[in-house]
Symmetry: C2
């Protein structure tokens, strides 16, 4: 029933009592084909809904025009912005993006990479999963390198690979966030940190730490608590912060979600934002401008990252032997809104 085989060039050839070559050339407007023949064949092809089998072409040309995008999640604004950026550049060039979501899972990531290679994907954009990062296994990446499939790291990266990378300057973004809080006059700045080990988390943490150092503020370990980027994961940590003998007067959240979660807990305690506690997030997600109070945050150019990553890929693809890998780091921007605007 559902096994109505798609029409092939051979079918059409049989119908016109000619060779497949003729049909192929007719369909591709080859000049050496008789005008009538061409027209007849094209009409018939359209009529029966002929559609070129790209699989066979891929085999023949060793080109699949497919790129892999392997990301831990697509739930957040940032990732979808990156994908949009990739799409903007690569879709017009005829590439299909194969989006693979690893759910931070090492085995799934490994499987996806293997599959992408088997499917002769022409390039891979990778933001490694949390588990991969934790475990430190990276044989599955060796495989990609060995096959010389262009591999572009996005945000999360291994230090020890010779590849191109496109990352946001998380360090200076975080630094600017904390510096802003200090400038306003906040003294005890807590950090709701991302999961340990991830570049993103650690860079932002470093920015936080170094900024405090620069301003001669001693670091209080109890003001640094982990979250997992999700809004829920900020609830308990924030409560713990507020319950301290000497609670913080400002919180720097590793992203907007976490910052929003923290705000909610703070407001529930009857505290004022930014009066009692100042808040800064990270991402400049669309919602951050419309929370109550609106959220001061660090803008993270996801779309641009996607476009830069595309550029890196294209460079590598067209690159000669003396091609060198690039490491793009895009700047962030401090977006000041209500959640930190205490009159100092």
């Amino acid at each position: 029933m559902n096994s109505s085989r798609p029409v092939t060039i051979k079918d059409i050839a049989r119908r016109f009592r000619c060779s497949p070559s003729t049909v192929s050339r007719a369909l591709n407007d080859h000049p050496a084909i008789n005008e009538d023949t061409r027209k007849n064949i094209q009409e018939y092809a359209k009529e029966v809904g002929y559609q070129r089998n790209e699989v066979s072409l891929s085999l023949l040309n060793k080109k699949t025009a497919t790129l892999g995008v392997v990301v831990p999640t697509i739930g957040n604004y940032y990732e979808t912005a990156v994908i949009e950026g990739l799409h903007t550049v690569l879709q017009p060039l005829g590439y299909t993006l194969n989006i693979c979501v690893t759910n931070e899972n090492y085995l799934l990531e490994k499987e996806y990479l293997s599959k992408l290679l088997s499917n002769r994907t022409e390039g891979i954009f990778l933001s490694v999963s949390q588990e991969t990062y934790d475990s430190g296994y990276y044989e599955h990446l060796e495989n990609v390198i060995q096959r010389k499939t262009p591999l572009i790291f996005i945000d999360r990266e291994y230090e020890d690979f010779e590849t191109s990378r496109a990352t946001v300057d998380d360090y200076h973004g975080a630094f600017a966030a904390v510096e802003h809080l200090i400038t306003i006059g906040y003294k005890n700045i807590a950090h709701l940190k991302g999961p340990n080990g991830l570049t993103v988390s650690e860079q932002r943490f470093k920015g936080y730490r170094d900024c405090l150092k620069k301003y001669g503020v001693s670091i209080r370990e109890e003001l640094i608590i982990n979250t997992n980027f999700q809004v829920e994961s900020a609830i308990v940590p924030t409560k713990r912060l507020l319950d301290l003998d000497s609670p913080p007067d400002a919180i720097f959240g590793v992203n907007d979600q976490v910052a929003i979660g923290a705000m909610r807990v703070i407001l529930d305690r009857g505290l004022k934002i930014p009066g009692d506690i100042g808040i800064v997030g990270f991402d400049n997600s669309p919602i951050s401008a419309y929370t109550y109070p609106s959220l001061t945050t660090i803008s993270r150019p996801g779309r641009k990252i996607g476009m830069e990553a595309s550029r890196l890929f294209l460079n590598q693809l067209n690159g000669s032997g003396d091609f060198v890998h690039e490491n793009i780091v895009l700047p962030t921007e401090l977006i000041i809104r209500e959640s930190s605007l205490r009159i100092s």
Copy 2:
């Protein structure tokens, strides 16, 4: 440089002075292969990083184990939840999901569908784009049907196709939202509607309208204003609502984003939520529980939709001639939170 051809079975065969058949069988643990031969070949294959060319296999078997997921956007919580649901069921079965984002664009949708067919995708999950819906063109879908590629509609649908569908019961969800507001005691309920023409928008609007009717509340056209689902798109409409001579005392937003935008505008005017104005959203996105005030909303089971859609696909795939298309409609649930909890 980057043209180091992947190792093929033929290469291995040359190396061992045997035929490709032998190598193929050795790699696939065929019983008729000598134990030593098998071991040697397998070891060598691993050493040189041999990876089976799935493209050639696809051609041979006419199976690609690839499914297309064509959606207007992946920016919202709901869509990613759907994708997660699809993934949950289909990934373990060996399917690769090819996620295509149309950005509500007809031409892009058409191109993607054509490409998916050309690539011999074995099934397509489709949520049609706004433009497609508006224009009413659907030849690109005829093509899919003609080729008997299983096509499952998600949420947005054409009425006139013989296909399976998985949708959320938007109508009754909206109805319940408005009924809740009425029960609480709100009298003038506005609706920030989605874009005209989309099933999702229209169903929710109908639910809103019919609920008002049922309770004998006359519909005031000026209380119904369009948005585009984005948070920003709620700002101006909400201001317009508040500026009315007889402003509403409750707003039903077509989704959480819009509701959140509305809340922001209302709070900026110094009005109280839910005291002066009650708000209900739609989606139960993670953030909705943590806004201030937290948002009463309608939960929309995205993950479940994805899983149901997968089931529909599998049914159709394994179905016999007497297979009939299913039309799954999943129920919603009213999640009552602060934004509507006025003491009546």
